[in-house]
């Protein structure tokens, strides 16, 4: 009402309105941004009416009925925290309890480094937020540094370091011919990078290839990175989700810690706790001593403050409720293993089906690779045929999300792949 009165001309000066009306938009020259390649796949899948359609583009876990899953331990945790005392701001560094438990997962339950308080750690907005915070920190405190990113990698890694204005280079990683690791070339790139470069490493279950170094290979990678004084930054988005055992999935990190690297880690609970949309994660940076860790943490907070002030509380509460309760934690470990085992089972089934069909190609890589994704080796043209002829949706780089494979569709999928590759 007050607005209408005000608009009735007595207060409004019409000439000012006219001035505004004839101005064109400031955003005329803004170009429409390219569509996100992965989201486009899901959109197309949803629009497809075929009853046979299969979505193996999705990067989120599905059960054997193709349904998203909320873990039982998560439901229980949510029951406990509902009607919580308050929704007050967390500190800038997030939930202290959640961070403590999260560090134990990455660095080890009884890690000396944790006891010595040498780790600067803050709650972050899942893996993306942790990587971004680190990239901003790297830019601010090592402004002349650059980041080496594996080829291929999760597409958003490039966006993150670019927006942080850290120059990026790439290092060899995936070997298309063997559908495995291009180890020699990777080591060469590590050796040839200028001393003190930053290297982005996938701790386990490499996205998108599913190709991980072996333990021996990790030791050698660690050795060469150390020789060059490089900084190792681990993106660990799948701990527990890869082998089913969080300790096993942290092996690469533990090797680097043993070798004395001062590493950084981005951890995410999106997949291994199914907390995707809660945006819960953690960024940690191992320092020389407690004093430095305090300094680094304070600087990370200085970067978080002008980005979002403090991180969201709900997801952090779920995590800390689960991890600090021995029974809930045990339940979680069981549920993570179930997810990982189902994926491993589907890998075996898909490969088995393809071999049974008499495919001329080798499909060993399906079971060699690990984690949510399989880099099938399918060409974009073959992928298009899968979509157009068989209503199977995946990203055009041939990445198959094994989470979308079920006992109900694995034969159909194998048949279709066989058809387009025979």
């Amino acid at each position: 009402m007050a607005i209408r009165r005000a608009m009735s001309g007595r207060i409004m000066d019409r000439t000012a309105v006219v001035g505004a009306r004839y101005m064109s938009s400031w955003w005329r020259s803004v170009q429409p941004a390219p569509k996100d390649p992965i989201l486009g796949v899901t959109e197309a899948f949803l629009a497809d009416q075929s009853p046979d359609k299969v979505n193996v583009g999705v990067g989120a876990y599905r059960d054997d009925n193709g349904k998203p899953v909320v873990l039982e331990c998560v439901r229980e945790a949510e029951r406990r925290i509902a009607g919580n005392l308050n929704m007050e701001y967390l500190p800038m560094g997030g939930s202290v309890k959640m961070v403590e438990e999260t560090l134990k997962l990455a660095y080890g339950e009884n890690s000396e480094l944790i006891k010595e308080k040498r780790i600067a750690a803050v709650q972050a907005l899942s893996g993306t937020g942790a990587c971004r915070l680190f990239a901003d920190f790297q830019k601010r405190f090592c402004p002349d540094s650059q980041i080496y990113i594996p080829v291929p990698t999760w597409a958003n890694h490039h966006n993150i370091w670019r927006d942080a204005q850290v120059p990026q280079k790439t290092y060899h990683y995936y070997h298309p011919e063997s559908k495995g690791l291009d180890f020699a070339a990777m080591i060469d790139d590590i050796k040839n990078a200028p001393n003190g470069s930053f290297f982005l490493l996938h701790a386990c279950a490499h996205n998108p290839t599913g190709v991980d170094p072996s333990e021996e290979q990790w030791r050698e990678i660690s050795h060469h990175i150390k020789a060059k004084g490089h900084f190792a930054f681990f993106d660990m988005a799948y701990q527990g989700f890869a082998s089913g055992d969080p300790e096993k999935d942290a092996k690469a990190i533990r090797i680097f810690l043993e070798d004395g690297h001062h590493i950084g880690i981005a951890q995410s609970y999106a997949k291994n706790m199914g907390l995707y949309s809660q945006r819960v994660g953690c960024l940690s940076v191992l320092c020389e001593d407690e004093k430095q860790a305090v300094a680094v943490k304070s600087q990370l907070q200085q970067l978080a403050r002008p980005m979002y002030s403090n991180p969201p509380v709900h997801g952090a509460l779920i995590v800390s409720t689960i991890l600090s309760d021995p029974d809930l934690k045990k339940q979680w470990l069981k549920e993570v293993k179930v997810m990982a085992d189902r994926i491993i089972g589907m890998r075996t089934a898909l490969r088995g089906n393809l071999e049974k069909l008499g495919s001329p190609l080798s499909w060993q890589h399906i079971t060699n690779q690990i984690g949510m994704f399989c880099y099938s080796g399918l060409t974009p043209e073959q992928v298009d045929r899968l979509t157009n002829e068989f209503h199977i949706y995946m990203t055009r780089n041939g990445r198959i999300s094994m989470a979308g494979v079920t006992t109900g569709n694995v034969e159909y999928l194998a048949n279709a792949i066989h058809e387009v590759t025979k």
């Binding site: 400031w26 701001y89 979002y308």
Partner: protein, 452 residues
């Protein structure tokens, strides 16, 4: 880049031992390593320290530091007036009943999953938030000229908007009022904008320096971005009158200055949602463009859930759609997609007319309690005959009062009366209760009469 290494003497012996041990262990497995000898570069990190050894500890956040000091104080009469969060008469944080209800509904809905939200967040949340701030009948909404994206509360909305502006807008300078929320300059600077100020608060009147504001905005280069507090200015509590808003609008439109509204207190200031949105709606009504950062931290008490929205009002629908696509490119490398919990609570409340009404009642109750605290404090100072004009306490609006006390007086009040507030003399009225007003009045009285 050559990593900097501290001299060996600065390393603790235990860390040197650790490195030696690592070396020994590594040499023991050397047979597994490739045969070619590895030449250790003399500048390599192997014997060196962290590449972040030079990082110094950042200063404490001035506002958080207040709470830290308060927590340490053992006094039974201590009062925390630094916190920018609502407190009840009992001094407790508050979760609104309607929020509890909404949370329970979400919990009971077994069909709910935790899948990633779209990059722009919950579509319904965005629509409802736009309606809330612009009005259900807003021409901008009707004409599809608004793009709204879910962000992390007010801070996140400001940051995403500022990043977009730094990339796509021809003018990279933003004018912020003097004073303003301490985090504003940091948000804009890190987003890539350069920050200038415009006069706003007049310490002599404890009101608006309107002439100064008009002069400063009048001399800003055409197209500059201007940050405006939609209502309940933080930290001063001094808002323009409707007449003054109209003058500001005319001036800004005539100079093609781009308004960027920070709306953190809608409904919390006057107790009425529409009233508190008038400034924004005035600008939208003239058909021009603007940015709006919305927060549900205070008015729904959702602080830690980080719920907010950024709206960009454009002149045309196709422009709004292009802008949205570019906002997504800002968001994706920052946090990919926003957190679901708080926004789901907001949707549950806003879309249900009964719950919406409940909310407006609880909101008004919070605003009324604050207004009542203002009155009580004003009366208490008058009753004590405290020298000075204290009418600004009841003229200012929103959570904060800019008392006009100087840092020496503030220090005195902390030391002698255990009153905790920011050194700029800002007090959070939300931290007061009928029981504690007398103590604060005593403290102010003592500070004013014994310290200048």
């Amino acid at each position: 880049m050559r990593p900097e290494f501290a001299s060996p003497s600065s390393s603790s012996s235990s860390s040197a031992d650790r490195r030696l041990n690592a070396l020994v262990r590594h040499l023991a497995t050397a047979s597994m390593v490739s045969q070619t000898a590895v030449a250790f570069s003399p500048t390599s990190g192997f014997h060196g320290d962290s590449v972040f050894s030079h990082v110094v500890r950042a200063p404490e956040d001035p506002i958080l530091g207040v709470t830290v000091a308060y927590n340490k104080d053992p006094s039974p009469v201590k009062l925390n007036l630094g916190v920018g969060a609502y407190r009840t008469e009992e001094g407790k944080p508050l979760v609104l009943n309607v929020v509890r209800k909404a949370e329970q509904m979400l919990l009971n809905d077994k069909s709910r999953v935790k899948e990633y939200l779209p990059i722009v967040g919950i579509a319904e949340f965005n629509k409802l938030s736009a309606k809330l701030i612009f009005g259900a009948d807003s021409p901008a909404i009707r004409e599809n000229r608004v793009t709204t994206v879910q962000c992390l509360s007010g801070t996140g909305s400001l940051r995403v908007g500022a990043e977009f502006l730094a990339r796509h807008y021809h003018q990279k300078t933003i004018y912020i009022p003097q004073p303003t929320w301490g985090n504003h300059p940091k948000v804009f600077t890190l987003a890539g904008l350069s920050v200038k100020t415009y006069r706003y608060y007049d310490p002599t009147t404890r009101g608006m320096n309107f002439q100064g504001l008009l002069e400063d905005l009048g001399s800003a280069p055409s197209g500059s971005i201007v940050l405006l507090h939609a209502c309940a200015h933080n930290p001063t509590g001094v808002d323009p009158t409707l007449q003054q808003w109209e003058q500001i609008r005319q001036l800004m439109r005539s100079k093609a200055l781009l308004p960027f509204f920070d709306s953190a207190y809608q409904g919390f200031a006057s107790g009425n949602l529409d009233e508190d949105a008038q400034s924004i709606r005035m600008f939208v009504a003239d058909g021009g463009e603007c940015f709006v950062a919305q927060s549900y931290a205070k008015n729904m008490g959702l602080y830690g859930e980080r719920v907010g929205a950024l709206s960009v009002v454009c002149r045309a629908a196709n422009v709004a759609s292009k802008v949205e696509s570019q906002l997504k490119l800002v968001i994706r490398p920052m946090f990919s997609n926003p957190p679901i919990h708080g926004a789901s609570i907001v949707v549950t409340i806003l879309k249900d007319s009964n719950m919406f009404n409940e909310w407006t009642i609880e909101l008004k109750a919070m605003a009324d309690r604050i207004i009542s605290m203002r009155k009580q404090l004003f009366d208490a100072l008058r009753a004590r005959g405290t020298p000075g004009d204290w009418s600004h306490i009841i003229k200012q609006i929103g959570m904060f009062t800019f008392t006009g006390l100087n840092s020496k007086q503030v220090e005195f009040m902390t030391r002698e009366y255990h009153i905790y507030m920011t050194s700029d003399g800002r007090i959070s009225m939300a931290g007061l209760s009928s029981k504690t007003v007398p103590h604060l009045a005593d403290a102010i009285h003592a500070a004013v009469t014994r310290m200048s």
